[in-house]
Subunit: 352 residues, 2 copies
């Protein structure tokens, strides 16, 4: 077979589906569209598309650094967070290394580790939450990279600052921790980890964030990583010359200035969350309390079946079978109208 | 050191520099700007940027396949050709594998091989040309991937159909050949390889092309690969879920329809080539005959020195020191005026 051994059991990524005439609420995209500030910034630079982008993404990194009180050397940007996961794996993984992940989480962690030949070990969720103790117990001398997703995709659950700090302080110093905070803009828990504090304390902690969600730029592919200088420098060694395109660099920088859009997006999600909690409670449907722009729930029936029934009624949600949860679905919190429609469909299905 | 062994001797990519008030002719960018058709296509889809791109790039792959008389399964697209080089290395390279490249060629081949842990062997150019016999003699049982650049960046030289066909037919069947044809749109040599014929004949041949040059879309990052189905399927296994952004997919497809822009770009380069040949001959300056949109020449003085002298006079060209040619420079063929200015500068420097 024309494929190296470590990739032979890779399942292709299962993306949220699209159908004309159906409302897509399966990929945690921003229901308000893209940041208008970002769109304007793209229009302004289109005439220069024949030029290569700045390979170092200097302007965008400076902007991100500035907002977080960091230096440019403590920031990397990637062609989506996916690329950042691959970069850190590409920079560090040698033959015989282990990677450690949780089960029922974002699939690109496993993929990135296996792409660079690591053997992947995993630890189950505990009642829908990352089991930090369980993960710590699985760390070995060969464990080089450990991925955390907080809040977790697809459950929306989180671990708090104290829990993470304790976990990191007990971890052997040879382990690099990648903390994916793609959904942190939607968090309202006051004890959510203060990642910037932790980066200063732990030289082997890397935090990733994204422009795909709250800034509505999933189509462009822009993620960024924060960490201490040595870690960031290492990961950038694995970077292709021009990894982040010219439009993404302009759009990302402009999006960070578009606070109004950021705020409206956050507000809509937090209001939608209240609406959904109330509706689901009324229907006595089990869900995980969420710190994200999505909610994970179960009607006790097979996820693929529920997915199809909801699709037949006009909404595309995500069956979590590909996440290893075959009786759960994930719904992207949307407008009041979409949310109500979702609740109405659930009500109908429950009474069937 | 926080970096795996195979990356410790990687030199960061040396990009063409930009300075305000200087004309940039150092990165083989299109002097006519971006394809207007592509720009229009981007504007038309900006409102949908909050959506993830099609991870399979179906529409763009179908379009490319159609133009070349291939199927979708025989086409891959990447975030620039750079990503395609990394994908094939990521899909195939296992511990202990060797990669084979030429010296004085595009640096991303070596990078991609080392990123996935291969040991890289190389073969010198022969009078500025790829030495196919020399390369063939260096193939071993462990040689898994061999990179060819035709026409070669930075010399502009080429090997012909017969030479390549003979080379491929004599190659052991365990070697995958990546043939980078980034500049093939500028070729006017009638005996240039007919890559599509060769793909049908050799299951382990992959050909890459780019939208960065003749379509003026370097800023967007879009390259594509053609090959037999098994090879393409293998390389796509190494792909991140959403590697090619939504705007690139739309722009690439539209650019392929913008034949007028393609033709004008080609015409300008071919006329510029004639102008430069004549001017350089008159000045008795040595250059390599080129099949590309650039020309490689030497005044016999150190490249960095010549680079600086030309920069002082307003043009940014490329010193080829980072390509291992420390007495050669590379000039991107441009408008009649730019070309004349370049010739005038060379004349002045020669008479110093």
């Amino acid at each position: 077979m024309l494929l190296k051994a470590s990739l032979r059991d890779i399942t292709p990524y299962s993306a949220g589906k699209s159908f004309p005439d159906k409302v897509k609420l399966s990929s945690n995209e921003n229901p308000l569209g893209p940041s208008p500030g970002a769109v304007k910034a793209i229009e302004a630079v289109l005439g220069g598309l024949h030029r290569y982008p700045d390979g170092a993404s200097t302007m965008l990194r400076d902007k991100i650094a500035n907002i977080h009180g960091l230096t440019r050397e403590e920031v990397a940007v990637g062609n989506g967070s996916d690329e950042l996961f691959a970069l850190i794996c590409g920079a560090l993984l040698d033959t015989g290394d282990l990677g450690l992940i949780s089960e029922n989480t974002f699939s690109e962690y496993r993929f990135s580790l296996k792409l660079f030949g690591a053997t992947v070990e995993s630890c189950p969720l505990k009642e829908g939450c990352y089991d930090l103790r369980g993960l710590a117990a699985k760390v070995k001398a060969e464990t080089k990279i450990l991925f955390l997703c907080n809040p977790n995709n697809p459950t929306g659950t989180y671990f708090n600052h104290r829990e993470l700090d304790n976990f990191l302080s007990a971890l052997p110093s040879h382990v690099v921790v990648v903390l994916d905070e793609a959904y942190q803009d939607y968090v309202d828990a006051p004890d959510y980890p203060r990642a910037l504090e932790l980066i200063k304390k732990y030289p082997r902690l890397m935090v990733t964030r994204t422009f795909s969600k709250i800034y509505g730029l999933a189509g462009l592919r822009i993620g960024y990583a924060l960490g201490q200088e040595e870690l960031i420098r290492s990961m950038l060694t694995a970077k292709q010359a021009f990894n982040v395109n010219l439009l993404s660099q302009a759009a990302g920088a402009a999006a960070l200035d578009d606070q109004q859009f950021h705020n409206s997006s956050r507000e809509m999600t937090l209001e939608g969350k209240k609406q959904l909690y109330k509706g689901l409670d009324d229907l006595a449907i089990q869900y995980y309390p969420t710190q994200s722009n999505f909610i994970c729930l179960s009607l006790g029936i097979p996820a693929e079946e529920l997915y199809q029934q909801i699709l037949d009624r006009g909404l595309i949600i995500r069956s979590l079978k590909s996440f290893g949860m075959d009786r759960h679905i994930r719904y992207t919190i949307s407008s009041k109208e979409d949310n109500q429609r979702f609740l109405d469909i659930l009500k109908e299905l429950k009474s069937c």
